[in-house]
Each structure stands twice: as C-alpha cells, then as structure tokens.
C-alpha cells in the first residue's frame, strides 16, 4: 500500500504517546454550549497515517501485531481518561425511568433492567451472533423503520409493515419491541426509548451474550456494509470501522459497500481485519488473472476466501460468504475493475456439498449480503444450508423465515441495519445435524445498555481529529427526517430540495439508499448528520439537461430493480427519490409500463420530448463534475436554518391497497 512508507518520521513510537497526551488534554471530548474550535486542526489536514488512533506506527510488523500494539498504547492512554465506569447522570436517570414506565418495567436499578430485557437463557451447543448493515454508525442514532416496503406476489416477510408486522410476529402493540420493529407512533416512541445502536453499547451486549454462553462456543458474524456511511469512515477509507470491528471481536464478515473503496484499499483493510473476510461469489476476471492480479485462489479464481470452517464446542461450523451480487452494477465498477460478482447459485450448491462431505460441516451458515428476497429464493433452490444470515435490504425480521427446498428447510434471517439489532441464534446439534434452534433479534437500545468503556474511548479518539467538522451546527428540523421506505422519505426530500435550489434545477434525483440515520423534531442538524445520509466515495453532483423520456427511462429502470417479480433481478435498493416532479406508479406492471402521469410540481405534464434541467448525485458510471452532495446540502441548510417541508414528492400508487407492505399512505 505504501502507506507505511509515506508516514512522517516524527511519528515514532516514543514520541507518539507524548503527542497524543497533549492532543488529548487540548481537545476535550465533550462540550456544552458554544465552544470555540480554533485549537482544533482543520479536519482535512489529518491524513490517516497521522491519525492519533489509526496511524500504523509499527513499520514492518504484520497487521496483526500492529493492531495489538495499537491496543496496548490505547490502554495506557485510557488510564488517563477521567471517564469512570458508566454512572448515570440525572438526565440519563430520568430518561431511564421514562423508558421503564413506558415499557412496563418496574423502576429497578440499571443493572436489573438490563437483565430483564437482555438476559437470554442459554440453549444448545453453539451460539451465533449476527449484525449487518451498521453503515459505520459508531454512535447511537435514531432509525425509523419503513411504512412502505411493498412485496410483489406473495405477501410475506419481509414485506409487512406496521400493525400487520406486529400481528404476524405476535408483538405487543406499544411495547419496546413494537417500537424497534415498526415505524408506529415513531416520534413519541423514539423520544421515550431513546437512541439505538452504537458500537459501545453493541459491544456491551455482545460481550454479555458471549461470556454468559462461553466465548469459545460463539461466533460473531457481520453481513457487511460496515466500512461506509459516516464521515470518519469516509476520511479514514473504512479503517476506523475495521479497527472497531477488531475490538468488537467480529470473527467473519462479507461485504458490499466495502467495495466502494479502491481495490487496493479493500485488500489492505481486509489485511488489517482480524477476522476473516469471505465471499464465494467474487471472482478475479480472467484477463486480470492473466495480467497477474492477485487472487485468494488462482485455480478457482476466487478473489477472497470463499468459506471458513470453525470448531465450536466440538461442532464443525462452515460459514460461506456471499457478497452483494450486483456491486459493480449498483455501485461504481471503476473502483474494483478486476472483480466480477453475481449470485452464482450453482457454485453455491457445489460449495455447500463440499463443506458437507469433505469438511464434515455439521452446521452450514451462509453469511449473505444478497438482500432478503434473493436469500429466500436462493434458500428454496440450494439444498443443504441450515441458515442464511443476511443483510442488504435492512429488513429487521423478529423471526426467521422457514424455506422448504428439495432436501429440507433453510432458515432465512435478516438483522435490520444501523447497529440497531443483534441476532442471537443458538443451535442444538445431534449426530452431525441441526436438531433445534432458538433465534432472537435483539434491539440495541443505548439507554438500556451501558457503554463499553474501551470501545467508547476508542470511538472518541477516532472522531477527535474530525470533531470540529462533524459537530458544526447547520440547522434544526421541525419534523422527523428519515429515509427508509420504497419512496421519498423526508430526508430525501430535503436533499432533493437542496439540489434543486443550489443548482437552480427543475428536477432533482437522489438514490434510494436504505441507510441513513433519522432525526427527530427540534433536533439540530449537524454536518455529521448530513454525512450520515450522504457519505459515499462517489458523492459528486451533476446538473444536466434530460428529456422527459430519459427521466422516465431512469424511473422505469430503477423501479424494475425494486419490483421485478423475480428476486434475482432485484438489486435491493429503494426507488430513486425525486424532487420537483410527481408521477404515478403501478408496481404490478412490467418494466416500461409502471410509470405514468409525470408532472412538474406545478402540475404541468412532463413532455417526453422536451428537455429539463435535472440535478443529482452518486453517478455510478463516471465521476460527475460537481461538488460533493454534502456540501450542497450543508450550504442549503446554513441558508434555511429551519427545515420545514411543504411537499413530499411521493408518487401516486396503483393496485397496492390492502398490500401488507403499505400503510398510512396518501394514495393521491
């Protein structure tokens, strides 16, 4: 990578602790009021190789050793941290009481409350812990689940929302779980129960569930989308998350947004990762192999290790990796030109057969970033998989789907997103086969889990060089700002409005990502919040003229990725977000027949042959010329000061009334 070679000589081991002590005392980690930030170094002037935590100072040492070194150094510094074991302050206590009364708990001590909600009885011989799509959210956030998540064809998980989801899974309305799994009564419930996720809180939960079960009998699995989604992940090229995952104890992971860094950065990050990165469906292209591009296995062409075998409590466990199959289509192929993806169903089948017969696997796990619909189809066609632990589609499903195939049943789980959930799957194995299981998808409520001190210290340190940029206050919001859902969320509308105003465009287009933290009314919008919604490695904006028919073609194409009746033809994102225009959508129609009635905001029909000025961002094919989208949105917010959205450009929908994947929708 040449990173080690480029590091300045001043950062020698002996100097660094001293330097960091100085930095530590100069820059307080928490501030109130309106601090003056002048003592901080400008954010873009801290390259990773000088980062106080991430800088790799052990030149020549193996990645594993350099990590251990970093941890030791960290420990010595954290001793100086006045942060004592988590004690509740008054505000936290009041909050906790509110949570307790709202969720029917008796007011108990903090520790007792934890025990109530998070104590899971041990079951079976092997415990798998699973999270996915944390999108680099190191700190607790809010995340609103969708009220529109349409499924075409059979109505089943994951395409159920709101009350229908509660009924389907037998969840008590107005409970803590009801808030975790649905959008219902969102604002009030979020204000009551507080933020979710955060690596320090996740670490506490993971450690408890591993220690109480016996660490050696557990595995921590991550389905990917871990290295992208925050400012710090962007600035450190995913390295802050690799280190956080090492500290969290992730054993095996696969990926999707991981591949939006340059190939050499991906490989360097994997080298630093202390667990294993697995993917059976990523191959080095033949011509690249020919030119000497490295592969995990030159004979098979696998770019990465396809699977790993672990012995847990005397049980042979295989974990097969399945990266997001459409990465070079949904994201820029130019960053990873030598790798080719795909679902590779037949290869999956032969791999499962191999691990069953040759590796004597008793439990076969597929760690997947397919998206839940693709996982469900795969499970119905490939035999011999015990469980698919999946991600990508951000579906938080309280119970696994049981999928029958020619040789038995496969469980399909999807563990939500944003660090909000931890899946806990315990297996009983007899005579080399899975006999029974217990699964829980635990919501991670930051108010119910004390922050792990070591992780908290790490997070604070990793953010430190960027703190002034991250905490810049841009505006406040008067309403809930969220993204998740098949069509425009309020946050998307804000982004589209910013694009239109700042670029003087008639129409704005914004990608239908599923990540991005939610904000509550009266919350301040900081630069960090904007980055949480926009931070990608291809953020450049464009303004260009497009004909009405070109705009329609884009809408049709993306709509087919969402609503094609064959899951293998879906890419798992949501519909492209629009600003300045309305349309009608009939999800049940085939491609090129779903979109109609396109009009501008003032009601003027969009002429197929006329040209319109369109602004957008996140172009996949080539780099766009404009400023990064977060600068556009930040400029707009600085001007606006208060966010109040008058109009949301959600489409008029046809033929979906009664679909369990939609409620509370204004069909007009």
């Amino acid at each position: 990578m040449g990173r080690a070679g480029a590091k300045p000589t001043i950062l020698k081991d002996s100097v660094v602790p001293t330097l960091r002590k100085i930095i530590f005392f100069l820059v307080p980690t928490r501030r109130r009021g309106n601090p003056v930030w002048t003592r901080q170094r400008p954010v873009f002037l801290v390259p990773v190789h000088q980062h106080p935590v991430l800088a790799d100072r052990d030149a020549g040492a193996s990645p594993l050793h350099s990590h251990a070194g970093a941890w030791e150094r960290e420990k010595s510094i954290s001793l100086q941290n006045s942060f004592s074991q988590k004690k509740m302050n008054r505000r936290e206590f009041i909050h906790l009481m509110a949570v307790a009364s709202a969720s029917g708990f008796l007011p108990k001590s903090f520790a007792e409350m934890q025990r109530d909600f998070y104590d899971i009885p041990n079951f079976g011989q092997v415990r798998l812990l699973h999270f996915t799509d944390c999108h680099a959210q190191l700190l607790p956030i809010y995340y609103r689940e969708p009220h529109v998540n349409l499924g075409i064809g059979e109505s089943k998980a994951p395409h159920i929302v709101g009350d229908k989801l509660l009924q389907h899974f037998g969840i008590k309305p107005n409970s803590l779980e009801a808030h975790a799994f649905t959008y219902l009564n969102y604002q009030q419930a979020a204000e009551t129960y507080g933020k979710v996720g955060g690596f320090a809180h996740l670490a506490t939960l993971i450690n408890r569930l591993r220690d109480s079960y016996g660490r050696e009998k557990t595995l921590l699995l991550d389905s990917g989308d871990t290295w992208q989604g925050s400012g710090t992940a962007y600035w450190t090229r995913g390295q802050d998350m690799v280190e956080a995952c090492n500290r969290l104890g992730v054993d095996v992971m696969t990926g999707h947004w991981e591949f939006t860094y340059l190939a050499k950065e991906v490989l360097a990050n994997i080298k630093k990762f202390q667990g294993e990165f697995v993917a059976q469906n990523v191959l080095v292209k033949e011509e690249a192999l020919f030119e000497g591009v490295p592969a995990f296995d030159e004979d098979s062409g696998h770019a990465f290790k396809p699977y790993t075998m672990r012995d847990l409590n005397g049980v042979r466990v295989a974990v097969i990796g399945q990266a997001f199959p459409y990465t070079p289509i949904a994201n820029p192929a130019r960053f990873i030109p030598d790798w080719t993806f795909g679902i590779r169903e037949s290869e999956m089948q032969s791999l499962v057969d191999t691990v069953r017969t040759q590796e004597k696997a008793e439990i076969v796990v597929v760690l997947s970033h397919n998206g839940m619909d693709v996982d469900l189809k795969l499970a119905s066609r490939v035999t011999g998989i015990d469980v698919i632990l999946g991600g990508h589609s951000h579906d938080a499903m309280p119970k696994p789907s049981h999928v029958k195939n020619n040789d038995g049943t496969t469980l399909v789980c999807n563990a939500g997103s944003s660090g909000k959930f931890l899946g806990v799957l315990d297996f009983t194995v007899k005579e080399g086969k899975v006999k029974d299981y217990q699964y829980r998808l635990m919501p991670v409520f930051a108010n119910l889990l004390a922050a792990d001190r070591k992780m908290q210290t790490y997070i604070e340190k990793v953010r430190m060089p960027y703190l002034s940029k991250l905490t810049e206050k841009l505006a406040t919001t008067e309403q809930v700002l969220y993204r998740r859902g098949n069509f425009n969320g309020t946050y998307d509308q804000l982004i589209c409005n910013a694009l239109r105003v700042q670029s003087d465009a008639q129409i704005a287009l914004s990608p239908g990502f599923r990540w991005g933290a939610t904000l509550l009314p009266n919350q301040e919008i900081t630069m960090e919040d904007v980055l949480n919604q926009t931070c990608i490695t291809y953020p450049e904006t464009y303004t260009q003229e497009m004909s009405g028919s070109q705009i329609k073609m884009i809408l049709e194409d993306v709509c087919d990725n969402l609503f094609n009746s064959d899951p293998y033809w879906q890419q798992g994102g949501d519909m492209v977000r629009v600003g300045g225009m309305d349309y009608t959508c009939d999800p049940l129609q085939p491609i090129n027949k779903r979109i109609s009635g396109m009009t501008l905001d003032d009601g003027t029909p969009i002429d197929m042959s006329k040209r319109y000025k369109v602004a957008g961002w996140a172009t996949v094919k080539n780099q766009s010329p404009g400023k990064p989208v977060w600068e556009i949105v930040a400029d707009y917010l600085r001007d606006q000061k208060v966010v109040k959205l008058d109009k949301i450009n959600t489409p008029k929908l046809l033929n979906v009334k009664g679909n369990p994947g939609i409620v509370d929708y204004n069909y007009n």
Partner: protein, 148 residues
Amino acid sequence: MTISRRNFIRNAVALGIGTIILPPALMADRAAFQTEEFDKALGFLFTDTPIVTSDKITLKAPDIAENGKVVEIEVKTDLPNVESITILSEKNPRPLVAQFNFKGKVRGWAKTRIKMGGTGNVIVVVKADGKLYKASRQIKVTIGGCGG
C-alpha cells in the same frame, strides 16, 4: 503436477486446445449473420429443422449483466456428437452472435462474450447427432445505481 488457472488460460490461448474454434463468418451462412430478424437467422442456418428445448444444455450467464458490452456466455452440453453451438441474442440489431463448429471427439463447450444493448433473451442452439436442441435465458441490462 497441477496446472494453475493462469497457466491453463495461457496455454489454451497459445495452443488453442480444447474445442476447435473456427472463425464463424467463414463457416456459417453470411446472410444469417447479417439479417436483422431473429427467425430469419435461424432459417438461414437450420432451414426448417425443428428445434427442441433440452435440459442437457447448461447456459451460464449473469442474471443482470455487469456491463452490457461484454456479457460472458458459457454453454456446456452432455449431448453426444456435438456438431455446432450457436448463440443468438433476440434483441440485438443482428441477432446471430456466434457459431462454433466442432469436429471429432470433443466436449460440447463454448465460452464467449457478447454485446447486448438491452434486456433480452439469449438463445443457444446445439446441433448434435444431426438434431437441434435449444436453451434460453433472459439477461437483464440495467443502467445501474441506487443499490441499498
């Protein structure tokens, strides 16, 4: 001695081992390659011989093409005495894309890359023992972007 994938490819390219691939334009009817109609292309090549769908043909192709300009198509068949493998892309301006002719005792296998302008069916016709068999698969070509 095991042979590495790279060495195998290098040798394969150098020696042309495996199947005997002849320049298609020399072998097939020129008109078949030039016609813009799918049915006519089949007509030129096979006249009126009936073509039956066969599960003995494995057509490997991506569900969604990573790049419509280079879509990798692999055809394998267990049918004995393969004489030719023909690849057509229904929606291409000129649907006949490639024909591979075989001679002698060879395995029915061909792999190539084709260009596709949009979503459509790719049809493979295998001639074996004087009879015609086919398999087809729809391949999606998309503008991409917006993945979750």
